[in-house]
Symmetry: C2
Subunit: 256 residues, 2 copies
Amino acid sequence: MTRYALHIQYLGTNYRGSQKQPQEKTIQDEIEKALCTLIKTKISTIFSGRTDALVSAYHQVLHFDTANHINKYKFINSMNGILPEDIRVFDVEIKDNNFHAQKSAKFRHYKYVIRNDIIKSPFDTNVFFCRYKLNEKRMNEALKYLLGEHDFSAFKSRSDNPAKVCKIYLAQAKRSADGKYIIIDIVGDRFLYNMVRTIVGTLLLIEKDNLEPLSMLNILKSKNRSNAGATADAIGLTLVHVGYDDCSDYLKQINT
Amino acid sequence: MTRYALHIQYLGTNYRGSQKQPQEKTIQDEIEKALCTLIKTKISTIFSGRTDALVSAYHQVLHFDTANHINKYKFINSMNGILPEDIRVFDVEIKDNNFHAQKSAKFRHYKYVIRNDIIKSPFDTNVFFCRYKLNEKRMNEALKYLLGEHDFSAFKSRSDNPAKVCKIYLAQAKRSADGKYIIIDIVGDRFLYNMVRTIVGTLLLIEKDNLEPLSMLNILKSKNRSNAGATADAIGLTLVHVGYDDCSDYLKQINT
């Protein structure tokens, strides 16, 4: 058996998230169905991590094993011929058998985009709309308190995983050149369930109630979910990248 | 009666073009229905020009007359409350009675975007896909022959309007920073029916058959539609802007 890593992107709008669920249309179902059609045997896949219903990915990684030989370009073409147009395979590569899409990942980069204008744009595909004026400098200041290694219990929705410590390498908010969008980028080694959306919800709470940016630190320290803001809508969230090497080069690259 | 100019944007994917047609869903129908709901009387609108089925607009302008007083912010909000989300009103202004959305327009800016990569993007909303590698330098060279005042008979689909002379102020092709898109910008005083799409179709023909960029000039001079390329797909086309002043300031602005 050979282990392959598959690199995909998808628009999450029409799916109930990435992970297989009974009687729901998910990204993993579509990928496994396409693999089964192509390789002519049932294939199980492991994703780098789950994305929620409606959440999109520019770059998601998964692995699977097969005894079949895969011709890279033919395979990419065939998969894209079978898959619905909102899911695309853009790369496939042979990996060592100890490669694991989830466990080998060193960092994940999530982006949350807010249309912050008086009107929505008909051209936005995965953007949250917020009509009241947000202050990106204050949001950026609040995000800085999350950098480094912390217990993120205050920002998680479920408690199924006992490990609550995550390391955040980048957390920033910027307004787009045209002034109409706020783009929040967060890069970390791992993320708890709904963590990015709860961080964004907390930023929105800080803005709406005009709290001090320092509130973010107090909420983090409290380790109490009820102090944080509501989970922000899934529609603004995109998994930008999953990295399997140290993230320093990646951070340099995205900050230029 | 007061004349108002309405500034709108729309994603054309779900519409049979901008102009009213019996038994078809069009942008003009949606706008006139919304105006009628709001102003409580039948309102006729005149658009700056028609956009084809599937074609989008970042900035389309139309005018209408009403005896009712319009409160700008309330009106924009109410219209956007009534309209489907793929059509947005972003401005309304009082005009002199001699203002005419179509006849007073000094220039139009169209953009045609081609995804030129081996895979489509799930995130593109109004982009044409072309898998074979295009040479944007050759395309740009071919476009330069269109600058200035010419008879564009070679690039029009129908012959209902006897005036065939248009003045082209800008015609350029550029590859996007990520290398995956070719963006064609054309600004002119007026455009014949399907003219931008036929120009793009001719660029694609020149690339596919590896013709000299000079072929564009020969096709233009021939004034014969059968020498030009096929009409390119509507999906890549967007009306970017309609201008009512001299275009020199606008051209400076988009080229910075």
